[in-house]
Assembly symmetry: C2
Homo-oligomer: 195 residues x 2
């Protein structure tokens, strides 16, 4: 077994550089040189850890997913509608970090729609997101906080509402300040509650 030094740690350094590039230049600005420059290194280093551009892109998306998941609060100290609200609010661009994340996601859709592999990955991500939201929706339904309609449809609608808000807020942050985003989510959930 040959020496490993600290391969994983160095790889994480490259990861961090990848993320900085994504956050500042967007997905279209992700190039081997940009990452290398960010590391004060050369393309040789980058290709040493990521053999191809596609591998680098896939890694970048995994990175974005990990960061997204880290942002979502654990659903343990709350349940039902309140937990659902928190889970959706975690996606909204309410912090600089979340804004950065959303910008990366939205900018990735160009490449994701064009490449079959990336497209499938993004599709799966959406499916997993909805699956994670579903139990919260069902709980809220059982609590009488959401109408007893098809939960899958409710989940899809809530995911749509949230991401649609994200896109509008990214393009027009002044028209969608944090307070309004929270208000929109709150009143939307309240409006769905049947009386």
């Amino acid at each position: 077994m040959p020496a490993k030094l600290d391969h994983e740690a160095r790889r994480r350094d490259v990861s961090a550089a990848v993320w900085r590039v994504l956050a500042t230049e967007g997905f279209g600005g992700l190039t081997l040189r940009a990452v290398a420059t960010e590391l004060n290194a050369t393309t040789g280093l980058v290709t040493h850890y990521f053999p191809s551009k596609q591998a680098l892109i896939v890694h970048a998306l995994e990175l974005a997913e990990a960061r997204t998941r880290a942002l979502v609060p654990p659903t343990e100290n709350s349940r039902g509608l309140e937990a659902l609200k928190q889970a959706l609010a975690a996606v909204l661009p309410l912090t600089p970090e979340s804004t950065e994340l959303n910008r990366v996601w939205v900018s990735s859709w160009d490449a994701a729609l064009a490449d079959p592999e990336l497209r499938t990955m993004e599709m799966s991500r959406y499916t997993r997101w909805r699956a994670r939201l579903k139990p919260l929706v069902v709980q809220a339904q059982q609590d009488g906080d959401l109408p007893p309609t098809n939960p899958n449809d409710l989940v899809a609608g809530l995911a749509a509402f949230t991401h649609g808000l994200v896109v509008q807020a990214l393009f027009d942050p002044k028209a969608f300040p944090h307070k309004r985003l929270r208000h929109l989510l709150d009143t939307h959930l309240a409006a769905l509650r049947q009386s």
Copy 2:
């Protein structure tokens, strides 16, 4: 005044080629060469009608907007909630043409978020879209078909819901067939109606 031949008609040919490239390759695939090849011509032709890449991109977006507007039915034979429903359904990818359009829009967001001019353009487009929806929402409110809450918030929420559905449907058309998209929109509007 020098001869004009049919400058505008030829320019429309280039436009059509631009659109074909956008529809098949997405926004990231829009290059002078791709447009020229689509026309069986050279880059000289393209630059003759569009002096720079930026001009070509702006034109491409104007083209998308014109096509989008053409898809939205006139709000004259209906009013209120029904007109609103039709206006929103017109945006959903229910036809190949609309799917094509939405794919172009979503894929444009990468470039739009990175370039200040394009970003402003997209922001204005959203503002105009919401302004066009607002009177329909107000009508529906007056008819008692929507809750008497802040109409601007209602409009933003409906735009969000619709575009969020568009994105999910683009990535997973099998999970979001036409029938389900219509159903989701119908039930969503019905759920918002206060009882």
